[in-house]
Symmetry: C2
Subunit: 239 residues, 2 copies
Amino acid sequence: MPTERAVNPIAGGSLLAEQAYEELKGAVLTNRLRPGDALSVPALAAQMGISRSPVREAVQRLIHDGLATHVPHRGAVVATVDVEDVRQLYVVRAVMEGLAARLATERLDATKVAELRELLEEHERVVAAGEDEQRHIEMDVAYHRLIREVADNPHLTAALDTIQGKAHLALHSLWRSPDAPRLALEEHRRIFEAMTSGDTDAADRAAREHIDRLRIRLAQTVASGPEPGEGPSSVRAVP
Amino acid sequence: MPTERAVNPIAGGSLLAEQAYEELKGAVLTNRLRPGDALSVPALAAQMGISRSPVREAVQRLIHDGLATHVPHRGAVVATVDVEDVRQLYVVRAVMEGLAARLATERLDATKVAELRELLEEHERVVAAGEDEQRHIEMDVAYHRLIREVADNPHLTAALDTIQGKAHLALHSLWRSPDAPRLALEEHRRIFEAMTSGDTDAADRAAREHIDRLRIRLAQTVASGPEPGEGPSSVRAVP
DNA sequence: CCGGTGAATATTGCATGCAACATAGGGTCA
DNA sequence: TGACCCTATGTTGCATGCAATATTCACCGG
């Protein structure tokens, strides 16, 4: 077991627990900590250079978010998402993104339209340049996040953040389709068109269908390429 | 300030933090702790007869659930839900209960139908007997919870639990309509009919409309009778 | 009578100690 | 060689200590 630490030391300002949480979440979401990896509170505390209290708190928040699971007397481990999990995740996410798009359509103004267009164009560049998967996921997350922000419903935002966090985690293990970014971008554009035309029903439908298609493509990808067997914390690179 | 404790001592078995969380949540949801009440970790720890660590953890979970808010350097206080909060809450809840009903319809079997009918009949007795509000809320919560259970989607369940928790909290402050229980029961029956007839669309619609009507009735109640003034736990009235 | 100032108070958040406990691994015995 | 036991290690979860800090209340001056 290499001493290669998956998390970085904490600066040491205020709210160590918060910083530890962000660091851990980042490590999980960028796949530096992989599903199945152990989250030992003492070990992480040592690596971050802080005591166990804030780390313990951070790990528990991760568990609460569904990004880690608690194995009795074995500590916490980064959550493993199976195909069925993802399916159920996306069924829920579809109706919530639909609602978000609907609400956002009602509250859209010129500023927000510009921001959305901006994001779409940047996403376009990323896709055109064939940049890395990580970057694409970031754009995808950012786009949906902005829609939520426009929708301006904190309860919806909170629920969707949790759902999307788990989905984000799943993408690392499951998403292997090379033209997925292009398709996603296309569907993002369709949502944009519906929203800017003021058609709430169409926006709702477009967002729901986007997530539904994502779910279907994910299922197909998994079905075709059953995933090279990879142990918890082994060394494989993302293809 | 009366020494009247709002929370009970903890038995002392295993997982004190969990027990403390349940105790606190119960106190909040049954209105023994009211919106605005302070949640002092040292005080609660003393009342429960345990140390601060598990209590701190419990309070943080409450905050994460939206049942409490963190006021800087003043400790945590039981969350205050205003009318707008409730409206936004129910907008989200409507689509999620709709999805739950839809999924439940697809997975319904004879056993679950019997359980649902059982609950409805008990609810009927409660309404007929004109029992207390608390009991009615319990029935309402139980009914929706059972639908979720049948729907069998853990992510949907988790999200809805959080949403319903906040809604539950809101009801104490806002629900003053005497015939609300009767109307709710009636709408529960309608959802039941749609589900047992196997019509997923109708079930979805019925559940969504139920929550929407709930939201509208709540808004009307609040608009007509602005609430008998009752302050946090002491003197102030809600502005 | 009222406003301002200072000290006492109570809070949080982090660090650390410690007992209980399950697991893993090695060594022993049949 | 294979199964079993027993110890060593790692973990959790709770208790407690402690510094930093904002609030509150009383008291004093105007």
